[in-house]
């Protein structure tokens, strides 16, 4: 287990975890960044949600079920789910050209697959569903936060789902397994592993990883990621409950 942490990457200029075990933003290894969730704030969308996780600011909107265009894409036995993950040009340090990059195209695909596992697609044959995710500010772990928000937007649109999908990233930073990487940890850390999870069904619907882990470290990382997802799931549940069932919620019902 320990030898994995002594690769060439270990000898870097900046330390990401100090002697007290605190990370660059003062968190402990198992702490998540401050989280804020909102649902139903976009008027035109059938469902919408907003997430802030650390400095991540992400809007998700759902349109559908609706007619399929072009027609030849129709699936005779289920709904066609489409997803577009997009980063605003001003969301990162250096301006990102607005046309979709290869990274964004891949992330759109894995987000779609992470959500499709929850959606009851066979109840809506010959229809289409659009999921739009716009990253207004990116701060590491944006695909996980996007899934957490998009899942809320689906619920807000009234799309029948088997479970909510919650997602976060874990990683290895200065040889330690930590939860919810921030921007610096994402860029300079050794490992980034985003995970999406449906806690009630106990199913992982997104799993990616890059960087070296021993098998034992992988197990610990996965376990920590699932804990993080359960925390986010609880937050999703609370915000939906507040939106639909409480009579006095602060500003979250505007737009509905």
């Amino acid at each position: 287990m320990a030898q994995g942490s002594e690769g060439p990457e270990a000898q870097k200029e900046r330390r990401l975890i100090d002697d007290q075990g605190k990370r660059t933003d003062g968190r402990g290894p198992n702490d998540m960044r401050p989280l804020r969730l909102e649902v139903g704030m976009l008027r035109n969308a059938d469902g919408s949600a907003y997430i802030e996780l650390g400095k991540n600011k992400i809007v998700a909107a759902v349109y559908g079920p609706k007619e399929v265009h072009p027609r030849h894409l129709v699936l005779p036995d289920r709904m066609l789910v489409k997803c577009r993950y997009h980063m605003s040009p001003f969301s990162v340090e250096e301006r990102k050209p607005p046309q979709p990059s290869r990274r964004e195209i891949e992330i759109s695909k894995v987000i779609r697959e992470a959500l499709e596992a929850a959606i009851m697609v066979d109840q809506f044959p010959r229809t289409a569903l659009d999921v739009f995710v716009e990253v207004l500010e990116s701060d590491g772990g944006s695909r996980g936060a996007s899934i957490t928000a998009a899942s809320l937007a689906l619920a807000n649109a009234g799309i029948p789902m088997r479970d909510m999908v919650a997602a976060c990233a874990v990683g290895k930073v200065d040889g330690q397994i930590v939860l919810d990487l921030n921007d610096v940890e994402d860029k300079e850390g050794e490992v980034d592993m985003p995970v999406a999870y449906m806690p009630n069904l106990d199913r992982i619907t997104l799993l990616q990883m890059d960087g070296k882990l021993t098998i034992d470290e992988f197990k610990r990382a996965l376990d920590l990621a699932l804990q993080g997802c359960r925390q986010l799931y609880e937050a999703q549940r609370k915000v939906l409950y507040a939106h639909y069932f409480s009579s006095s919620t602060s500003g979250e019902q505007k737009g509905q």
Binding site: K82, R103, K109, I204, I215
Partner: protein
């Protein structure tokens, strides 16, 4: 947002039959659940490429070529060479491919192969520097899929790895005026490890390695893992289903052992010289 045009209606109708077979530990092509199809690797198949490899994994056929050039390093890695992996699903590879810019499947293929190679540290990119901060090697790995019968991710990865490991690239020195001059020698790339990609598909409750196109058409989900000699270096889940955490852990542990077998087959493929073929047994 591109979507596959193929519907796989027949395959989905046969899913129940397939599951009955899987329950008995059998597959349509006679393999066991944890067997790979026969793997054959030939290197140096294109003489004008600096490295090349053709891989057959059953009926899936992939060819990869390596070309290098001297370029400026990326701003965030001034002391490293550049690695660029691209993949094309050629229209000759299947009746269902349409011409056009790479779709999401081709992009995912290239990026997953790239990640497995990059994160394993297979090629020591710190040695691919001619003039620090100014001039480095750009290593281009271009992957062409020639015939599609499932598990492109593994086949493309083996082809890319074999092409890199068998490459001979031009050597450069710096001339008196500081500009690069070819020495006329061709040198191998500084290869430190052979990363191995292992892909498993889940159909119902059954987990099987190296899915064919027919199996991919009905799979619930997929997991591609890349292993070094010491551990795991990349992961990519695919498909619209989900994995139980316990399944993932069991799969990662078991596949680490499987990767050792495949690594031996790749090494054998590399060991047999120019344009000769090493035949693996598959499982």
């Amino acid at each position: 947002m591109s979507i596959s045009r193929r519907n796989f209606v027949v395959e989905r109708l046969r899913k129940e039959k397939l599951k009955e077979l899987l329950a008995k530990g059998q597959r349509l092509d006679g393999r066991g659940l944890r067997d790979y199809r026969p793997l054959s690797i030939s290197t140096s198949v294109v003489s004008k490429a600096e490295g090349s490899a053709q891989v057959y994994l059953g009926n899936t056929a992939v060819i990869a070529g390596v070309k290098t050039s001297l370029d400026r390093p990326y701003r965030d890695t001034p002391d490293r060479g550049n690695l660029i992996v691209n993949a094309e699903l050629l229209p000759l590879a299947s009746p269902y491919i349409e011409l056009g810019p790479p779709n999401e499947n081709a992009i995912e293929l290239a990026r997953v192969v790239d990640r497995g190679i990059r994160e394993s540290g297979m090629v020591d990119m710190t040695k691919m520097v001619v003039k620090p901060g100014e001039l480095v090697y750009s290593i281009f790995v271009d992957i062409n899929v020639l015939n599609i019968d499932g598990n492109l991710l593994d086949a493309a990865s083996y082809a890319a790895v074999a092409a890199l490991a068998s490459s001979r690239v031009p050597e450069y020195t710096l001339g008196d005026n500081g500009s690069p001059v070819q020495t006329g020698n061709r040198i191998p790339l500084p290869v430190t490890t052979i990363p191995v990609s292992i892909t498993a598909a889940k159909i119902g409750e059954y987990v099987l390695y190296d899915p064919t196109e027919e199996e991919e058409a009905v799979m619930d989900t997929r997991l591609t893992m890349a292993f070094t000699e010491d551990g795991i270096c990349a992961l990519q889940k695919g498909g619209s289903g989900g994995w139980a955490p316990a399944e993932v852990i069991e799969l990662v542990e078991g596949s680490f052992e499987k990767a050792k077998e495949i690594r031996e087959q790749i090494r054998r493929g590399l060991g047999v010289g120019q344009a000769e073929t090493a035949q693996g047994t598959g499982s």
